[in-house]
């Protein structure tokens, strides 16, 4: 797996490509830790190119959500493929982690959370 990064205003968009599985979860964890260390708090995980995600991958997203929330930030996931969406649904992770249909909707969702948090 590789992760491409881009900035949209103050939101970091992470674009992982490949499979989010036990052998690759450290990459995502490290990336999010580095972002928090550099004081980036708003992260959109575009999952359109995650072909497969297992329970370790889900665990890494839950961990990222907790870390960002603890740093007064926001994590949202966008553009889940069907298999990934099913894992979110059956584990009920979609009731705890913000999920958007598309990257644009994910950006909007985070913008709304930023407004709620900062009033700007």
């Amino acid at each position: 797996m590789e992760i491409r990064t881009e900035m949209v205003n103050e939101i970091v968009v992470l674009n992982p490509i490949g499979n989010l599985v036990a052998s690759s979860v450290e990459l995502l964890k490290t990336q999010v830790e580095n972002l928090i260390e550099k004081r980036f708090r708003f992260v959109l995980l575009d999952m359109s190119r995650i072909d497969f995600m297992d329970s370790s991958g889900l665990g890494s997203i839950i961990a990222a959500d907790k870390s960002l929330t603890a740093a007064s930030g926001v994590l949202a996931c966008a553009a889940l493929q069907e298999g990934v969406r099913k894992v979110f649904r059956v584990t009920r992770a979609d009731q705890r982690i913000a999920v958007a249909e598309t990257q644009s909707e994910g950006l909007l969702l985070i913008q709304q959370r930023i407004i709620q948090k900062t009033g700007r």
Binding site: N19, V21, A22, F52, S55, K66, G83, V90, T91, R92
Partner: protein
């Protein structure tokens, strides 16, 4: 109707090699049942969780997996030595804690249960032997 097919793989118990084994299982299942993406995806998810669990908990250096496909189902069998671990026991989906936080782990066995139609386990001759069966839709 899918012709009978079989795949056998023996490999070192390592997460990276689990990825390769899963890919091989996925490829053969997709070839056999291109009309039932969901069943194929479910079987691969469960097989992946079973293999990861074995790598993490068995302590064995090597595992064997077998995939059998007939016209109605996909059967994944895994055999691995080491400590006894029975994934057919209680496997409840983890719940949020009192603060509403989801746990970061503990989903693997519950996902296997959720994604598979039949699961069987036995410990024989010092080996953990797990069988997972996923039925496919007829006439799709």
């Amino acid at each position: 109707m899918a012709a009978k097919r079989t795949l056998n793989i023996t490999f070192a118990a390592d997460f990276a090699l689990v990825d390769q084994a899963r890919s091989a299982v996925l490829e053969l299942c997709r070839e056999a049942f291109p009309q039932d993406d969901e069943a194929v995806s479910d079987l691969c998810m469960a097989a992946n969780e079973a293999m990861n669990n074995a790598v993490e908990h068995s302590g064995s250096p090597q595992m064997e997996v077998e995939l059998q496909i007939d016209d109605k189902s996909m059967t994944f069998r895994m055999s691995i030595g080491g400590d006894r671990f029975d994934p057919t026991g209680s496997a409840v989906m983890p719940e949020p804690d009192a603060l509403g936080e989801l746990p970061e782990g503990g989903y693997g066995l519950a996902l296997i249960r959720e994604f598979i139609d039949c699961i069987a386990y036995e410990y024989r001759d010092g080996k953990n032997m797990l069988t997972l069966v996923k039925n496919v839709k007829k006439g799709v």
